[in-house]
Amino acid sequence: QDRVTVFAAASLKNALDMANNAWATQGQPPVTVSYAASSALARQIEAGAPADIFISADLDWMQYLSEKGLLQEDSRTNLLGNRLVLIAPKAHATPIQIAPGFDLAALLNDGKLAMGEPNSVPAGKYAKAALEKLRLWSVVEKHVAGAENVRAALALVSRGEAPYGIVYQTDAAADPGVAVVGTFPEDLHPPIIYPIALLKSSGASAASSYLNFLKSPQTAPFFEKEGFTILH
């Protein structure tokens, strides 16, 4: 069996699809990707899903599988990184310097700050960490509208429901309704990392060469085009 099955966080879809096209044009066996929430994918792998490779949107779920002993540990790599940005509806966008003590509360006025749900959605967790570091969390906590995922937070800003939002730069780039008004310095939050690993249950002979393909410079343009940073 040489078909490679990848379980990947949904936000990777665009870039990964492009990479896979390139893989296919090299005459390699086809790759099937199941895009879903990292949590769902991790649990499915735990339940015996026929996957060869897992790409998570955060380290936690990769760690979860690692603890269950389901990973080929030596294959585990941090594949991609991302940046957190502050966005506003395009019409009202004025650049903001993100630094300790900047008056986010005033900017929000009575409005909401849209972001991923701060306890469960990775982007939310990073945003919360950053705001805590900026000592803004206690001020804005009650203004936070925690969305189910980054895309939903983006939509809230893009639709003008919320005056500001915190999302990945990968998402912000694609939505014409929003503008990036500031980028969070990387030291404000734990590194945003998309780890990749081969699974112990993997049976596809091409899996490890596919993993190497993703790590190769050939695929870097696809990820960079979507706004990811290459980590390896």
């Binding site: 949590s39 849209a114 509208a145 969305a147 189910e148």
Partner: protein, 236 residues
């Protein structure tokens, strides 16, 4: 029972879910009856379009429904802006929005049940009522509606249960703000998204089950009390 101890936010979610589900069900009811009546009895152009629209929230992934609600009823939405300026009704990031989302998601279920019962009402009884002087509205109120009670109750039960379980459309439309829009379902979902959240999720799930079972039992009693058994005394 230490294990079943709920945090303040969780209690808020329970209260909110109950409140939102109840309001969604009650507010949807008159619309549900009206639309069911149109579909059961009306003959008008665009009836199948209406029928399709009603089913839409069932057909679409809840996230899409939530997104559509955002476009329509958000602060800048077509209807949202109107409703705010005319009646001061605001949905975005309010429990009202959660109720709207739940109501919309449960609407097709409610309409189908009521429609089914309306269609089963014996037209002969409506004729009899008309000969006794009841106009169309009165016939509906005194004969059709009471005889459709089983369907109305069933529709309310389904809508309520759906409202308890709904989170996809809700979280997309009004986000997940504890105490304001975080329903029990959304809280459970959130817990499933973090490694190790299982115990919490299980606990809240049990709470949801207990609440819903109680509502279910109450509805069965109600249906029984409405006592539409027209059957002869059962022998076999």
């Amino acid at each position: 029972m230490e294990w079943l101890h709920l945090s303040e936010d969780e209690w808020a979610a329970v209260r909110l879910s109950l409140w939102v589900s109840t309001i969604a069900t009650l507010v949807a009811l008159p619309f549900g009856v009206f639309v069911a009546y149109l579909l059961a009895r009306g003959r008008f152009w665009g009836k199948s379009v209406l029928n399709g629209l009603v089913h839409l929230p069932l057909i679409l992934p809840p996230v899409v429904t939530g997104y559509l609600l955002l476009i329509a009823f958000g602060r800048r939405g077509v209807f949202g802006a109107y409703l705010e300026s005319l009646f001061g009704i605001v949905f975005s990031f309010r429990w009202t929005g959660a109720a709207l989302a739940c109501g919309v998601m449960g609407f097709p279920l409610m309409v189908r049940s009521i429609r089914l019962s309306l269609e089963a009402v014996d037209g002969k009884l409506e004729e009899a009522a008309a000969t006794l002087g009841a106009n169309r509205a009165w016939v509906f109120l005194t004969v059709t509606l009471p005889l459709s009670l089983p369907g109305i109750i069933a529709g309310m039960v389904l809508a309520f249960a759906k409202a308890m379980g709904e989170f996809g459309a809700t979280i997309t439309f009004v986000s997940n703000i504890p105490g304001e829009t975080q329903t029990l379902s959304a809280a459970i979902y959130t817990l499933t998204q973090v490694p190790g959240g299982d115990a919490g999720a299980t606990r809240l799930t049990l709470v949801a089950i207990v609440i819903s079972f109680s509502a279910l039992m109450a509805s069965e009693l109600m249906a029984h009390w409405a006592g539409r058994r027209q059957h002869h005394d059962p022998v076999r």
